[in-house]
Amino acid sequence: MKKLINKPEDVVVESLRGLAAAHADILRVEFDPNFVVRLDAPVKGKVGVISGGGSGHEPMHGGFVGYGMLDAACPGAVFTSPTPDQMLAATKAVNGGAGVLHIVKNYTGDVMNFEMAADLARSEGIEVESVVINDDVAVQDSLYTAGRRGVGTTVIAEKMTGAAAEQRRPLKEVAEVCRKVNAMGRSMGMALTSCTVPHAGKPTFDLPEDEMEIGIGIHGEPGRQRMKLAPAAEIAEMLVKPIVEDLPFKSGDEVLLFLNGMGGTPLIELYLMYNEVNKILSGQGIKVTRSLVGSYITSLEMAGCSVTLVKLDDELTKLWDAPVKTPALRWGI
């Protein structure tokens, strides 16, 4: 295992210390239980927006804490959902009297832990709403399964929901915005390599030099199918087609295109992939009016990318353009 770390068991806490030191103007980090929180939390009269999940997806979620996005984030162990006590502490820390929204990625562990946390918070008299993000078209949805994973749309939802909260909208409306983004967003990812969980010490799966995994999530897990490595143009087709068909996105739609890196893929390749995806979309009359390119929801050092499309309307476009000041996303301020 080749990583810039000391001991595997200290990775999460030591990385959080670095985040806190590098961005002391925006956030602080609390330990036992661990959570990242806005310096000025709780913001009086504003709905608190929190999220959380396993570590290893940086900058998500801690890098999205700050004005216009998240009020707090709860980092679990690598690829392991955080625990209810972290979520409860974060919920209390950001409750400005207008209630707190929990943005939860749809994984069994995340959902169950946030459920328990919401129950605890409500029992302490805090109004809590939860929205579950499940945008991964690689997974067939079904009543009898765990359903679709929450992936790339989570980043866009946290940005837009945070903007709605800054406008001092009530909890119900802020939750509605989050549900709307989730309803309008779809994602699909692929991997060129696996990644190594520090505790495990070796790659989660082996992938031959000439093969790739299509339909992966963000936990280094294998995807829906393994196939021979293909040119970027073909990979773009494989990712875009199921996304466009699922919502469906149609000619004339305005969309946000989020071309995400999985952690080990450099920008030169992400922009090349953006070009391929953009060509396919314009060929179908789908207009990309907003873009995000970079590694924002990652799977440690995995090489690969994911494509997220969010159908935009005036409200969502304005919420996207609204000022944001976090370690990972910043504009207008």
Partner: protein, 211 residues
């Protein structure tokens, strides 16, 4: 033939020790169809539980189980945290006030725990989860009691039923948990949670054999 409070504490130590011994194996199982953290998660939670339990070692068995459950919830995370945590918290409620457990007490206690897991995770038999080890174990336990089997025999039969249920998860296509994202590709692998649940029941059988 009852299970004393010390026997309960010994079981928790044995459970934690066996999880530590099989930590990497459990993580490997999880790497195949999950995210390679089940061994590390369970180990972290059980070690903290052993430490926490010291402070309530003089209390009733219900308090001990509750303490373990709450510790697991706040240290394991993932899916296993709420599931094992709920199991032990429910076991704690069912055994509240007890300083020792008769075999029937244990069956009631364990049944409450299993119900907690099913309530929390909503998994059915055949979904390729820990439930596929826990439910057969519970049924075997009840049957033994009905047949008037000894505590030792009943516990051993339960552990064997769990092991069979665990192995039966191999051909299953997962419907719950991370493995479900793999669809058909989840078949052919043993479910890590079923494996850790079997360890739990086997260590109970071993520790309490002489009860």
């Amino acid at each position: 033939m009852t299970i004393s409070r010390d026997a309960v504490l010994d079981w928790l130590k044995a459970f934690a020790a066996e999880i530590e011994a099989q930590k990497d194996y459990l993580t490997q199982l999880d790497a195949a169809i999950g995210d390679a953290d089940h061994g590390a998660n369970m180990h972290r939670g059980l070690q903290t539980s052993l430490a926490k339990v010291q402070s309530v070692a003089d209390k009733d068995i219900g308090t001990i189980f509750k303490t373990v459950g709450m510790t697991l919830v706040s240290t394991v995370g993932g899916a296993a945290g709420p599931l094992y945590g709920t199991m032990f918290m429910q076991m704690g409620t069912a055994s509240a006030g007890k300083m020792e457990l008769s075999l029937t007490d244990w069956v009631a206690t364990f049944e409450a725990g299993v119900n907690g897991v099913v309530m929390r995770g909503k998994a059915n038999l055949g979904d390729k989860t820990m439930v596929d080890a826990l439910t057969p174990a519970l049924n075997a336990l009840k049957e033994s009691v009905a047949n008037g089997a000894s505590t030792g025999v009943a516990l051993q039969k339960a552990a064997e039923a769990a092991a069979q249920g665990r192995d039966a998860t191999i051909p299953m296509v997962a419907k719950k948990g991370r493995a479900s994202y793999l669809g058909e590709r989840s078949a052919g692998h043993l479910d890590p949670g079923a494996a850790s649940s079997t360890i739990m029941l086997q260590t109970a059988a071993n520790t309490w054999a002489t009860s």
